[in-house]
Amino acid sequence: MSESATTVEAPSGGLPPATDEPGLIRRYGVTLVFLAPTLVLLTVWVVYPTLRTIHRSFYDRSGDDFIGIDNYRTLFTDDALVTAIKNNFLWLLIVPFFVTAIGLVFAVLLERIRFSVAFKVVVFMPMAISLFAAGVIWRLMYEKDPSRGTVNAAVAVVADAVSPSGVLSGARPSTDELEGSPARGIVLQAPLEAGSVARLGLTAIREADVPSGAEQAVVPEALAGGITGVVWRDFKPGGGTPGELEQGELGLPGVTVELRSQGGEPTLETTTEPDGTFVFEEVAAGSYRAAIGPDTFTEPYAGVSWLSARLITPAIMMAYIWVWAGFSMVVIAAGLAAIPRDLLEAARTDGASEWQVFRRVTVPLLAPVLSVVFVTMLIYVLKVFDIVIAIAPGSVEDDANVVALAMWRTSFGGVNDFGLGAAIAVFLFLLVIPILALNIRRFRREL
């Protein structure tokens, strides 16, 4: 920029000797007058800050000491910054492709339906809100708790239909006499034989979740030739004594109890009475284990942790694609409208299938438009920032980090290291240059 400024100014600086050429003064003078506001603005707001940032990136945090390329070395060795760079490359690989592809699919399909304008408006709608607002919305939609997060609520409807939650979801054994876990079923350790009485005490069941009709639990009498037992809520306010059936502790009715053989095979099954008791009459000789199967304990669907370290980056990408798909669709639809219909007709007449028409005619004709969308998205994705800071909870900001966010956090987010921040900014600048060059070359060609 500064070079172009000097080339324009140079002739006007050499004006005095050229007084006998008034045309020259007028020509360059007028040019200069028209260019001046832009030049001043560009110099103040673009050229100077760029040069100053590059300069600053070679100095330390305080700005006093020249430290060479140390900041750039930190950029590629610091774990958090390396994660940011890696994430940004993931963004580059994934997001522009999907935004373009989804936009293309929408645009092509919407050409063939009625009310397509209404659909286009709906898909384009996210463009009307800021990325930050979109981020805030998605942060809420991604919450883990299905009663708050819309995404998990939708998943939960399916998940709960596939595996409905059990009668005693989340219950646990009250003592070590029972082993196993809610996922595998809970088994009484002591072996049983005819005449035994089994006590299966469970806790972590809310008062309100005790099946209706429950009565005070009782320990049943031993039965000659059979096995009896009780399943009860081994808890009363204050805790009670675990393992002991006390007054005020309720039986758990309707629980399916299995009698497993020594090898672990279920042999008999029964359900409990309102007072929690159950009976297996006429048990063959041998030793058994009493168990409650895992179905009883199946917990309601807890939700996917979209906002956890593992899923946060894909989750933010999905939100971003949702926002930009509308833009891509509208641009591609405009390109599609400009395609000569007779070419498509000709292809169809020649016997091409719809897929072949799409693949061999539509897409090649759309290539310039597609590349505009793709390159625009490359640039936007490189500087992605606001949606990341809006969606990622503080605890996973490091895992969701991208270069632009890293620059902001390093410079202004409390670290206040402007040297390193400037180095990150310069790095981002270098990444954008090839794409810009590509874009400029394409513009020139089109002009």
Binding site: R61, E143, K144, D145, G170, A171, S174, T203, A204, I205, R206, E207, D209, D234, F235, K236, P237, G238, G239, P242, A302, S305, L307, S308, A309, P393, G394, S395, V396, E397, D398, R409, G413, G414, V415, N416, D417
Partner: protein, 437 residues
Amino acid sequence: MRKRWLALASLVGVLAFVAAGCGGDDDGGGGSVEGSEDVTGTISTMGTWAGPEQASFQAVIDGFNELYPNVTVKFTSGGNNLAPLLSTAVQGGNPPDIACIAQPGLIAQFAEQGAIQPIDDLRDAIVDNFGESVADVGAVDGTQYAIMFKGANKSTIWYNVADFEEAGVEPPETWDDLNEVTSTIKAAGITPYSVGVDAGWPISDIFENIYLRTAGADMYDQLANHEIPWTDQSVKDALTLMADVVGDSSNMAGGTDGALETTFDASAAKVFSESPQAAMLILGDFAPGVVKNNPLEPVTGYNVFAFPSIEGSSPAVVGGGDLCANFKTSEAATAFLEYLTTPEAAEIWAERGGFSSPNKNVDPDVYADEITRTTATGLAEAETFRFDMSDLQPSAFGGTPGQGLWKGFTDFVANPDNIDAVTQQMESDAQKAFANS
């Protein structure tokens, strides 16, 4: 946001702690103020207080004027911009006579610059009323500069009364009791804690409370100044205890993953609710205020108990407060500061609500409601008071979401078995931050 400013200011403050002047001790008087008509003049005061808080401070000024009718006290609210306003005023040579500042770091910075004047004559009155621990918050290198007139208590645990009744448990007084209450609540099928890890500072507040109790006040100060490393055994021991709360996924509403994405206000809403998702919330005395349309009544719906004692530790409070300091010495200004040390001054605001006084001589009965009485007496009766550690460290380490200390604590919640790795990371972050500050 405010927290970030606090931390930012304390970054400068820690620097200032290192070097500051010394002063002698004088014998001053304690107890109530007699008042006098001989003292005359006009003094200007500044604080963050606005709206109802400003009206309450005005009531305190009116109380002062009953004793000193010939002194005019003017108050200007600086709101959240108090710190930059004061710094600018000091630069411009026109500070107010008295300002009440929430950042000990800024007090230290002003003391180092010589912008605020020592009030050693009032030291005895301050110690009589507030106790040594609180008095020392307003001292820089042994010289008294400020009075902590208003306090905030971050050693509080809130609970849902209905959940406690259903589980049949009482507020615990010791850490062992707390663990017992936790397991009883779990046995009742209720999730014990709601933890808002998100930004990290609510977890750091829990750690500070544990550390102050297990390692003691001296170690707390040394750790805050990074005189002992974060890899110290005392830190690891405190983290081990902290795992009693945050180390077990089933202890927290939404499990570990749920807690990691929960913001502090959302965590409060999970307890202050008619269908609570958890029974207890470890958060400062401001907790009920962050829940919009809190559906529960104080005392009958929600209540509070003091952060429990650990292995017989004496009552200790981690918190914050507004420190009133003297920029220009005058008879009237000294009289006003002396008045602020008296229980009478504190009681005027306490009766109006929204105020916790660190003054031990304030009559607990003056507090408008039982909850404030509990949190305020907890503050006043604490044998040890320490400012929130996050406010005492370079902000890059102690006060930035997703970085340094807060990041370390969130990592600990995500992975509570790996104490060594977490403390290692904290230590290397601390070294960077302290080297840079």
